[in-house]
């Protein structure tokens, strides 16, 4: 499971960075989104991967550490998701607006030979 998650994070981050380096604003935004997915998974994995462990205290389980997962990274990842989502929405609006004002979706606002 660890290997699978690591590969997933790596692929997402790699694809995200590759897209971010492109010159079209839509590609850049997609790249940032993929990168933030990778980061979110990474935060999640920093609480150690556990199966069948609850993050919130439950009367039905014995109060030992083996029964519970670390709840803090889950709270952190929630915050990161919310902030990342809002930022992506804002960037989309700015990109749309810039597309209207400059007539191109090139990130520098200049239509050139860059793809």
């Amino acid at each position: 499971m660890t290997l699978l998650l690591a590969i997933g994070i790596g692929v997402l981050a790699g694809a995200g960075i590759w897209l971010m380096l492109r010159a079209r604003s839509f590609d850049v935004i997609l790249g940032l989104t993929l990168l933030s997915y990778a980061v979110n998974l990474f935060i999640f994995s920093m609480g150690r991967l556990r199966v069948n462990a609850a993050p919130i205290i439950d009367a039905a389980r014995a109060p030992t550490l083996t029964d519970y997962a670390d709840p803090l990274p889950q709270a952190l990842v929630l915050t990161a998701i919310v902030i990342g989502f809002a930022m992506t929405a804002l960037l989309l609006v700015i990109a749309l607006r810039a597309r209207m004002e400059t007539g191109t979706d090139q990130v520098d606002g200049v239509e050139g030979d860059s793809r």
Binding site: L76, T79, I83, M87, R97, A98, E101, T102
Partner: protein, 544 residues
């Protein structure tokens, strides 16, 4: 001051006031402005009181939501935090005063955005929790995106795309660094981290150093260190003047965060994570300083010149912190006060100058003199003296303190050569700019300039309504306020330098901060909700 909640007020007050101002805007601009300015004045008073309170040397910790220290989020007020709060409040007030003359009505919600920005800044200065620092960074960044876009126009949109994507990438790195640190140590409280990082086994050294370096890279993005400064000149010269004035304190957040984290968590006695920044921070800072001076020298517009001078001052500050002795950090903090005030004042003044020059704006070309050269010229001279670091103003004192403190470090020769060389370049740059703007510009020069003029001004139509704006007292008030404070910095240099020296000493002492944060006891609750719920059997897991 027995009320315990003073410490959290610099965060809560502007947030609430910002929301209220947003509602009041519909009732008319005047009342919204009045509330915003009143809040800013109250913040200045509050921050001054907190800085005064912190000057006795104790660190005051505040537990948000009354959760015990490493588990909840703590705020901590020490000398450095008090100083930064005061600076942020002053710059915010100046910006709001200035914007009252018309810049605020150029787009929506200007006052609220400045107040939200202040809330984010104050939170970042006060927090003692690494993830909370990330959240407050985001708060201040969100407000800054709005402020940068304030006024609209293609140039600002273009700058925004770069600025927002760059900072989003920075945030992603920040999250990776923070979660790595959490994975290694199991805590995010900076005081707790300080203890646990020192005890990490050598096996984790590589991961820890990766996390520390990533964290410093993120802070250097904010502080505009050499390879990461590209966003700054574009952003600062595209933003409207009052927004740019607020941004003057934003690079200082990065400097503050580096100062805090590199002394508290990754200080000299941090075990395997000790002094991560040492080898490369001073070298990069020197290069930043040199490049900033060169960029200012080559700039063809006043705002661009100023943006590069800010890069240079960020280089000086990071140099002071990178050298890593209490003496250099104290000198750096003294320099920080002066450079923040000067940068903010200069942005406002350049906007005034540009307004009087018609289509040329802030381009470094001779233009016919406006009627108010007699007022703007001396003001520019004063700020230029403060910025270049020439006696008698505080810019000189800051650099002199830094050079003196740097003598005992191994990089002394380089520091002296680059700081003095960059200082000379800055003097030449500012003298040339002042000469072109204020002395040349008779009939003959003006006709020549008009034929070569270029006017791709990012700010859209500026001339309309400039007559009405000239009558408003706000801009003059804002510039005079900042100018008076700059002069006061020089007059009261002794006490201020003593304060910044003590602040640096407190940073390096570490123990008082750690003890205050971890030792803060939650207040006894007036009503114990959990107990009541337990008694009624409504709490999950209460059976055990």
């Amino acid at each position: 001051m027995s009320w315990p909640h003073w410490t959290v007020l610099p965060v809560v007050a502007p947030l609430m006031a910002g929301a209220v101002v947003m509602l009041l805007e519909r009732r008319g601009a005047a009342i919204a402005r009045a509330v915003a300015v009143a809040t800013a004045i109250a913040l200045v008073v509050l921050a001054a009181a907190l800085a005064w309170q912190a000057s006795d040397g104790t660190v005051r910790a505040y537990l948000l939501g009354n959760w015990a220290a490493p588990f909840g989020i703590s705020l901590a007020l020490d000398r450095l935090a008090g100083l930064m709060l005061l600076l942020a409040a002053i710059v915010g007030l100046a910006s709001l005063l200035y914007a009252g003359a018309g810049d605020a009505s150029r787009g929506a919600h200007f006052h609220s955005l400045v107040l939200f920005q202040l809330a984010g800044l104050n939170g970042a200065f006060l927090t003692a929790d690494l993830f909370n620092l990330f959240v407050f960074f985001e708060v201040l960044l969100i407000a800054s995106y709005g402020l940068l876009l304030h006024g609209g126009g293609a140039a600002r949109l273009r700058a925004s795309i770069h600025y927002v994507s760059f900072n989003l990438t920075g945030s992603a790195l920040f999250l990776i660094a923070v979660s790595l640190l959490y994975g290694l140590t199991g805590t995010l409280n900076m005081a707790d981290l300080a203890g646990r990082v020192a005890q990490l086994p050598a096996d984790d050294a590589v991961l820890l150093r990766v996390a520390a370096t990533l964290l410093l890279v993120v802070f250097c993005v904010k502080a505009a260190l050499l390879p990461l400064y590209f966003w700054l000149p574009e952003t600062y010269s595209a933003a409207s003047a009052p927004a740019a004035a607020v941004f003057a304190i934003m690079t200082k957040v990065g400097v503050y965060a580096i100062a805090r984290v590199s002394t508290l968590v990754f200080g000299a006695d941090a075990g395997v994570g000790a002094s991560v920044a040492q080898p490369w921070l001073p070298a990069l800072a020197l290069a930043t300083l040199a490049l900033g001076a060169a960029g200012a020298f080559a700039a063809r517009r006043l705002r661009q010149m100023l943006a590069y001078l800010i890069v240079a001052s960020a280089g000086t500050l990071l140099l002071a912190i990178g050298l890593g002795t209490p003496g250099t950090v104290g000198a750096g903090l003294f320099y920080l006060i002066n450079s923040t005030l000067v940068a903010a004042a200069m942005f406002l003044l350049i906007d005034r100058i540009a307004l009087g020059r018609g289509v040329l704006g802030d381009a470094l070309e001779p233009a016919p003199h406006g009627a108010r050269r007699a007022m703007l010229g001396p003001a520019f001279f004063l700020l230029a003296v403060a910025m270049a670091g020439v006696p008698p103003l505080a810019g000189f004192l800051g650099k002199a303190l830094l050079l003196d403190a740097a003598r005992e470090t191994s990089l002394a020769v380089w520091v002296w050569a680059v700081v003095l060389g960059a200082g000379l370049a800055t003097i030449v740059t500012l003298a040339r700019a002042g000469t072109i703007v204020f002395w040349r510009g008779g009939e003959e020069d003006a006709r020549h300039a008009a034929s070569t003029a270029f006017a791709d001004y990012g700010g859209g139509p500026r001339l309309a309504g400039s007559g009405a704006r000239a009558a408003h007292p706000g801009p003059a008030l804002a510039i005079v306020l900042l100018g008076a404070l700059i002069v006061a910095c020089a007059l009261f240099a002794g006490p201020i330098a003593a304060y910044t020296g003590d602040a640096a000493g407190q940073l390096f002492a570490r123990r008082p901060y750690i003890d205050a944060v971890l030792g803060a006891a939650p207040a006894a609750p007036a009503i114990d909700v959990r107990k009541e719920m337990r008694e009624q059997g409504r709490l999950k897991g209460a059976a055990r």
